[in-house]
Structures are given as structure tokens and as C-alpha cells.
Symmetry: C2
């Protein structure tokens, strides 16, 4: 069997976790790693993953040099949430004909907020013979892709509701910080005003669902509110006192003619009871799908990225969405 | 927008329901209907669907003549559960370059029971420029595709369990008959010995899951048992007395080295409590997915067939499985 040759580009928590999954898969071979952080460049990726044995793969700073030399089949790309920040990275891969699975949230529906950039990426990908796609657990699966997949059984879909409840207390510290856990309500409100909080990619999730199911959403709205803790919670990293912020509730609405046809309800806070993921399709039949216990964010995102690799390598060139590819699946 | 031109081939309950969905979709156009039943040939399909207005589409007996004349983009094919019985029908479509979405249960994994026939179909499809795929609610979605889709979030999958509980009392009469509702246990046992009962496609579901997730199943086993009613149930069509057969429980096991790694548990009986569909993946993470209330068999199968049409038209030629195509989705 030909192993797919993979480079990990961006070695933050998700990128590292994805790299470790690539290392353990029989069907994949990790051939390179790219990051610009001074404390990572030059080190064997085994050190960053706390593996007992070196891999022989050293972190490189110069992406172009690494990609030109390695010519991998595909990249796992985990460097930023925002498309303008990763434009040159993706164009470089596209020109070299290297397929990309990206965790960049705005890559889920690239033309939603960046239509010209998306056109440029698509042209470069077609010219270079590369396929580019963005995915993850959210956006990319729990609050969008699963709703679209569930619609397969439907004669009609009129309205979509997705609920995701995450107990932030079981997640890593940066995630707990990102949802404001342990802050006073005043501090949270101040920081929220500057756009400091909130899930990235909700607009893209709504757009994916709307386009996928032909719901013709013409306006997308979002609200963000702190969830205030009623009692003290202690996580491995911090303590949230009663009356402090435990995390966030982020609501997204996709509207058509003023009526909400896509509703996304995301709660991420320390101590959230009954974590779960849920999709409800109002239509014929009504579909009610539930992941008991919920889908674990970091692991699931890393797994989805890795599980999307074979599909992106087989797909025709261009800038794609997850709806254009066969569904990602676990393979050893 | 270019409407896809569709022919309905086979006008039993599922085929008719699928045809009615095609008629109501803006993106699809029903251009022909084929069946060999004397009471259907020559009639406007509107009569068979009890529509108020004629469609102008008359049921034709001669498939080849109809397909050669109409040259549709795709067929919805609902004529038989077994691949040898539909071989010539599919070869005809393949030679004419007409894509096919088939409800033939054995078409889910055609080479499982008919490797030579599958090879012949694949060659004809490639030569003719046609794409052929088999799907439905079960097999095709509830007990196989959904398990594969859910695995996207997994680092590892070691074991798959799918449970489907259908209250046969809410289904059509042929389905109630097919599960033996209202028979004595003796009668059921006698008929079961001749292979008269049981869900078709369980082997294919197990094979799809095993191949999709690399579980290397080397043996497939099935058991069928009657579910005996503890109290009387009356459906719109028949009555099941206490002590009579209410329906079936069909267990399927995919084994690797003697260990069950895929377990399918299908109950279809009159009065079944808590109808639902469930997928459990043992691995990392453990995934527990549940469709509350279950997925309605006939409507869901018709919808999946219709919702697969755009994907099969866009796909490259050949004999495919549902894992090769983008996920089917509702589109107006």
C-alpha cells in the first residue's frame, strides 16, 4: 500500500495532536513539520509530542523550502483562524500542487467573508492541481456537516437547529481562557466589546447549512453572552467562583426574509451539565439526532483533519467545501 | 438552472414514492417511468400517485426503448433486492451512459456476494460513462453509512454497534407481512426455514462498515428470531393477538478472528416501543449517536434515493458505493 506523505504545518495544540495521529496511522507517513515559533524550530517533533523515540522529523521554519523539498501528498494546516492570515501559506501549497486540509475556521466557506481571496485560491489550486478544504469539529462537523448529512432522509427541510453543549472544565487551559472562565462579568463584558471572545466560524456554519440545503439565508446574526456560575467549579487549571463567568453562550441565526431558518446554539462553560451535540431538522420527516455526551473538541478536530486527508488527495483540484468530498472516515 | 432529467425505473411502493419526490423538486424533472406490471403500463404516472392533474408521463414497459429515446441524466432504480435479477437492467443503463441510483439492497456492496457481476458492471459503467450506486435507509444509511460518518471524529474505532428499532405497526401492509406480523410461531418458523423473512442487506451493511473503517471482518453471521407479542396490537391493516408473532429481530455479526467487531441489531415488529436508530463506536472517543423516534423506512429510502441523484450525476464513471460520493443531502 502506498502511504500518503503528510506535512504538519502549524504546531499548536490541534496541529500537534493531528501530527501524532498521522504518526500512528499505517496508511499515512509524516514526512515534515513546519512552524515559526523559536521554541519549536529545529527540534525533533517527537520532543514536542513527548514521544520516547525521535522521529527524525525536525521542525522547519521556511515553509516554501520544506514543501519544495518534501513534495508531500498533503498538508495538515493549523496556523490561524482567519483566511487573510493564511492566504500566502495556502497559495504556496496550491502552486506546488499540494493538497491541504485546513483547520482555519474561515476556510469552511471561504467565499462567505472573502470572495475575492476565495476566487484567487480556487484559481491557484486548479492551476497547480491542488485541492484545498477547511474542516474541524466546529465549524466543520457538529453544527453544520451533521445537519446536512441528516437531511439525506428528508423530503423537505424547513428549519435547522443545532445545539452544542461543551463542559469547558474538561478542555485545555487556552479554551477555558478563551471562554472567559474565572473572569468577573465586568471584565468579560469589557473584553467582549473588543471581540475578545466567542466561537469563530459560526457564520460559516450557518452558510454551509443554508447553501447545502438550499435554505436561502439572506442575513446572519450572532449574539454572545457570558454564562455566570451559580456555584464554585475547579478545573485542573483554574477556579470559577460563584458569580464569576463560567464561559459563553453563543447564538447564531441564519434568516430568510426576517425568519430564522438556521439556529445554532453553542454553550461552552465550566460545569456545563449534560454535554451533548444535537441536530433537529424541522421538515418531513422531522429528524432529531443526538450525540450523547457530546463530541470532544480537540481530539475530534485533529481526527477529522487526519480522516479528511485521503478524500482530499483523491478529489479533483480546486477550492472545495466538506460537502464536495466523500465523508471523512476513520481508517487505520 | 439546468434541471436533472430523471427516469423512475420500477414503480413499487418505494419507486412510486421516489417518483413523487422527483416531481416536487425544482432541481429535478421526471421525464419517464418504466415498469412491467400490466396494471401500470400505459397509464399516466399521476394515476398511480393519485395526483389531481396528469403529468403526461406514461408508464412504459420497454426499458431499452424508453432509455434510448429519453437519454435521462439518471435513473432511480427500484425493481428488485437482488443483483442477479437486475444485472441486465443496470448494464443497459451503463451502456447508455445513464447514471443510476438503485434501491437494490445487494448494490450497496455489489462485489460482496457477486464479485464477477460487480466487475462486469464496473467495466460497463466506465466504458459507457455511467455511475452506478446502491443506497436506501437500510442498507445505505441507518446501520452502515451513519456509523462510517460518525467515525470522522475518531482517532481509533475498534467495534461498531448499530441498533434499529422499527414499530412495524406504523408501516405499510407488505412490510407488516414481510416481518410475519399476525402469524403463529409455528407458521413463522416454517416459513423462516425457507428464507421467507428477514431484512435483506445486512451482510452488505456489515461489509460497508468493515471496509469503510478497515475493521477486516473475515466472517459474517446472521440470526433471525420471531418477536412474540405479549398483548394484542391492531394496526390499520391487521391484528396481532397475544402469543402471535409481532415481527422479527435480526442480528448480524461481522467477525474478525472469531471476535465480533460489527454488530447490527434490527428489530421490526408491531408495537415495538421506543423506535429509534442508534450507532455506538467503541474507540477513542467513544461515540454514541441516536436518532430519537427513528428514521421512517419508506419515506427515508425514497428521499435518500432522490437526494443521491445530484451526487451520482457529478461523480466520475464506475460502480461506486455511498462512501465514494459526497454525502446525499436535501436540495429543493
Amino acid at each position: 500500500m502506498h502511504k500518503l506523505r503528510i506535512v504538519s504545518y502549524g504546531l499548536g495544540p490541534i496541529g500537534l495532536r493531528a501530527a501524532s495521529l498521522v504518526l500512528e496511522r499505517e496508511s499515512l507517513e509524516l514526512v515534515g513539520a513546519i512552524d515559526t515559533a523559536d521554541d519549536k524550530v529545529g527540534r525533533d517533533i517527537a520532543e514536542l509530542l513527548a514521544l520516547a523515540e525521535p522521529t527524525g522529523i525536525r521542525v522547519e521554519r521556511d515553509a516554501r523550502a520544506a514543501l519544495e523539498r518534501l513534495q508531500p501528498d498533503a498538508l495538515i494546516h493549523c496556523t490561524s483562524s482567519f483566511l487573510p492570515a493564511v492566504k500566502e501559506q495556502l497559495l504556496e501549497a496550491a502552486r506546488l500542487g499540494i493538497d491541504v486540509v485546513s483547520s482555519t475556521e474561515e476556510m469552511l466557506v471561504p467565499d462567505l467573508q472573502h470572495p475575492e481571496l476565495a476566487r484567487e485560491l480556487d484559481q491557484a489550486a486548479r492551476a497547480g492541481g491542488a485541492t484545498l478544504v477547511g474542516t474541524g469539529i466546529n465549524p466543520g462537523f457538529a453544527m453544520d456537516f451533521m445537519a446536512v448529512v441528516a437531511s439525506a432522509v428528508c423530503r423537505r427541510v424547513e428549519r435547522v437547529q443545532c445545539v452544542r453543549v461543551v463542559d469547558a472544565g474538561t478542555r485545555r487551559l487556552p479554551l477555558q481562557r478563551k471562554v472567559g472562565a474565572g473572569m468577573s462579568v465586568e471584565e468579560f463584558t469589557e473584553r467582549a466589546r473588543g471581540g475578545g471572545f466567542g466561537h469563530i466560524g459560526m457564520r460559516e456554519s450557518i452558510a454551509l447549512v443554508s447553501r447545502g440545503l438550499g435554505l436561502q439565508v439572506d442575513a446572519i446574526e450572532q449574539t454572545l453572552a457570558p454564562v455566570v456560575s451559580e456555584r464554585a467549579h475547579t478545573t485542573p487549571f483554574l477556579t470559577v467562583a460563584a458569580g464569576q463567568v463560567a464561559g459563553i453562550r453563543n447564538l447564531g441565526a441564519g434568516k430568510r426574509g426576517g425568519e430564522t431558518v438556521v439556529e445554532l446554539d453553542l454553550s461552552m462553560y465550566v460545569g456545563a451539565p449534560d454535554p451533548h451535540d444535537e441536530v433537529i431538522l424541522e421538515g418531513e420527516p422531522r429528524v432529531h439526532l443526538r450525540f450523547e455526551g457530546g463530541l470532544p473538541g480537540d481530539l475530534a478536530t485533529a481526527a477529522i483533519l487526519v480522516n479528511t486527508l485521503p478524500g482530499v488527495v483523491e478529489a479533483s483540484p480546486g477550492l472545495k467545501t466538506v460537502l464536495d468530498l466523500p465523508p471523512p472516515r476513520f481508517r487505520p
